[in-house]
Amino acid sequence: MSVWILGNNNLNAEVERCVVAAGMDAVVADGVDRRNAVIDAVIITEPPRIVALGEDGAEYGLASPTTNLMDDAEVERVESLKTNDKIAILLDYGEETPEYIAAKAIRTAKRFAGKKKEVVFLSKVVKCGYGGGEQEYLAARDAGVVFVKYEEASISYDEEADSFTIKANDGVLDMEIETPYVLSAVVRDIPELEKISKKLRLYKRADGRVNDDRFFLHPAFSTRRGVYYLNPALVAKGSERDAVQRVMLSVIADIKAAAVPGYEQEIVRRWGIPEVDAGKCAFCYSCYRACTHGAFEPDAEASAMKVVEGLCQACGTCVAICPGEAIARKGGGDLAMTGDVSKKIKVYCCENGAAEAFDGVLPSLGEYAGTIDSERVACGGSVSADILANDFIDYDTIIIACCIEDACRHMDGDRRACKQAERATELFQKASIDGKRAIVIQASHAMENVMKDKLLSILEG
Amino acid sequence: MDYEKSNFQKVLEAGKFAITAEIGPPMSADAENVREKARELAGVVDAANVTDNQTAIVRMSSIAAAYLSQGEGVEGIVQMTMRDRNRLAMQADILGAWALGLKNLLVLSGDHQTFGNHPQSKNVFDVDTIQFLQAINRLQEDGVFMGGSKCKHPPKFFLGATVNPFADPLELQVIRLEKKIDAGARFIQTQCIYDLERFDRFMDMARARGLHERAYMQAGIFVNKSLKSIQMTQLVAGMSVPDEYVKRFEQAEDVQAEGIKIAVELIAKLKGVDGIKGMHIMAVGWEDIVPEIVKQAGFLPRPIL
């Protein structure tokens, strides 16, 4: 199995060591040349910087996100560019940039322009018809961003100079921009894209366009199995080795699990794929918007949403979010709760890691072990406030054990869990019902000590 | 019907540089309070704005206070906001105001009631300033009420409006100013000016449309008494106060003297601006300093026409 490690970071050495120790091949690179790639998994150790499409279709580096998910390391890198370096932001969606993305890209442009850099924003269409878009655009323009609406553009990369040249024509003039830094959402129809796009949460639609209308090429946060992001900003200086080893245990386990044939079917077997009851569906698009795997499709005839099975990861976020309770799992196995209400404490464990830690810790909880009722869930974020509210009829304390920050395969499960726990606890406080609390414990499967400490402190009072 | 024009109108029409100030009615029914303030301004101004529940804080009505002020020899400019009254009440009020001998009327939107001491109230905004100016103009010229019925004895107010050269977008404020003048505003008072550069840009745009020739424009200035005062002014939505003024207050030994100095400086710069036909001096919380400022700026004595 071939694991690619992308990024220029001092974590790479340790990551490589872990991969090799697990019996897999490690390829450390700055970018992926997809023409010749055999890729089973990709581990990214720094925010991807650049994308360039050489004329031969090869790609150097990975597309960088122009969303507000740009982290401090990335911002620092931009800030360290020389003042007379231009920063180019290139949006090319074939015809139309989705407003959500355009707005975020424009915000990014404004942010950098504000730091006294020259920012050139190239796009085929700048459509800001919706709400905040227009203000964003004007604010960016006022901050000095140069907007270019081009008819044709191409980009090439000079490896030696580590610099890009963008050639664009706006219908009147030809222009050429040289820049060491391009933020891009360039998506082209390249045959070789097929392989990596499966990893990177993209799939091609029949008309040749890549399906990224909600989350565009964003490998740093891919929620598909096979792409992992080690966020260097989260690693405390001096403890890089430990941190990497900890995280790599989960990552390796995950890569191995995904390599097992029939893995996708396993998901269905364990959790069941959600199904939408068309009669109850209010067609509000909440599930579509919340799903981080792009696994929903509107069914115009039924006037309801439909789950796209190949993409669904059975995390249950949609079930939790649907305001009309129109989504329910079908065909899952029995991992149901023990339903023993003589116990006062209920723990929901996310199967991405926390569940293993919990199982490991349970026997050592002594007398408390008998008071806890537990249930496995696909994702901590699928435990909604209404589930908690009904649990509170019988339980006093509910714990959601879920992933550590940024480790959730479904993007924000841990944050959702925290919000829902807060909401449920507050609801009961405001109703003047004492003694009810929902608490979130964040721990990966290798963090049994953390799990134990937190559990004990909750159990003891 | 024959009537004598208001003093304010006469001064402007005679080509004299007009000076007005403000009387803020008390938050009580104390008539003497108004009379005292008016007495201070007698002979110092050509007329005085009498505010209407300014910043949405309940005060004695503008019409009543303006009437009291005129009793002390200071002509009143009645202010009417669109926030508190519907078209029936407003038309009724101006009929009464004219009957009491008041002759100047300034129409403005009014601060939203959430700013004031009765945020729970329903706001009216039955008509906006431009619609009202147009309607009153029609009433005065054609003797027809807003509902269509005839008015035998219409008032003949000298009508005015405000403009804020510091709100965004600037172009829209100028368009709106033109609409106000189209609707019948004959005099215009600006929001208080500190940012002279921005004000110049505004005046350029206004002059380009010939607005300075169609209405008498008065430059507004504020007189700050303390550092806190100018800091608060900076926070008001729609105000533009360059930091250099705050610095001057921070560094001044005698803040009050500095406040007067700044006001007089601004007046000196503004009176030479092409298109500005008068000053409107807002000394909120420090009304008794107005005579001193008018004197230092060299505007005494006031013309008697």
């Binding site: 918007r289 305001p323 405001k430 | -």
Partner: protein, 226 residues
Amino acid sequence: MIVAEQKPINEIVDSLNGFGRIVIASCGTCVTVCMAGGEKEALAVRGVVEADAKAKGEDVSVSVVNLKRQCDDEFVDDLEDELLDGDVILSMACGVGVQFLADKYPGRLVLPALNTKFYGAAKELGYWTELCAGCGNCLLEKTGGICPIARCSKSILNGPCGGSQDSKCEIDAEIDCAWHLIYDRLSELGQLDRLNEIYEPRDWRTNRDGGPRSVRKDDVNISDSE
């Protein structure tokens, strides 16, 4: 759509005090979409009410009835038995639904669980803003599709006022100045000259000011009483 928000939970719980058999009626249209009164919200309220009863040692039964709509007879008729199988109905619908049920079952107390707020739409998942004031005489054609009555804090028709700064309303920096939006929109549409027109005072009779309103289509509603 109609956007509403759940009342503070303690108000809801207090209003149900003294009732032993509570029926919570959720509504599957607008209030589901704005996540205030759909089945999910109804289940959460049930949880709280039952937990509250249990904590007080009271005997309370709570059932949840899910109505697709609470403002049309046929939807309500279908589940009438379940709706009336209690002492009180807590309606999770907007003000329309609550009244519809109350009118339909005059002997049964129907309590509101929501505060109905405005006509609006989602800007993003979980965030809705007011767009329409229901004024009865739509002027959107004149303002590039942005309503100054609903979205200007002072409902100015010849706007803006002097408090517009950085494109925000003076009363709250979260609120966009509607007239700034209109100006930008008309610019984009090439219709800036519309701003030179003076809009006459409005006839507010088409609004709520003319009394409670109704609409009748008499080609459909053929009434004998002419």
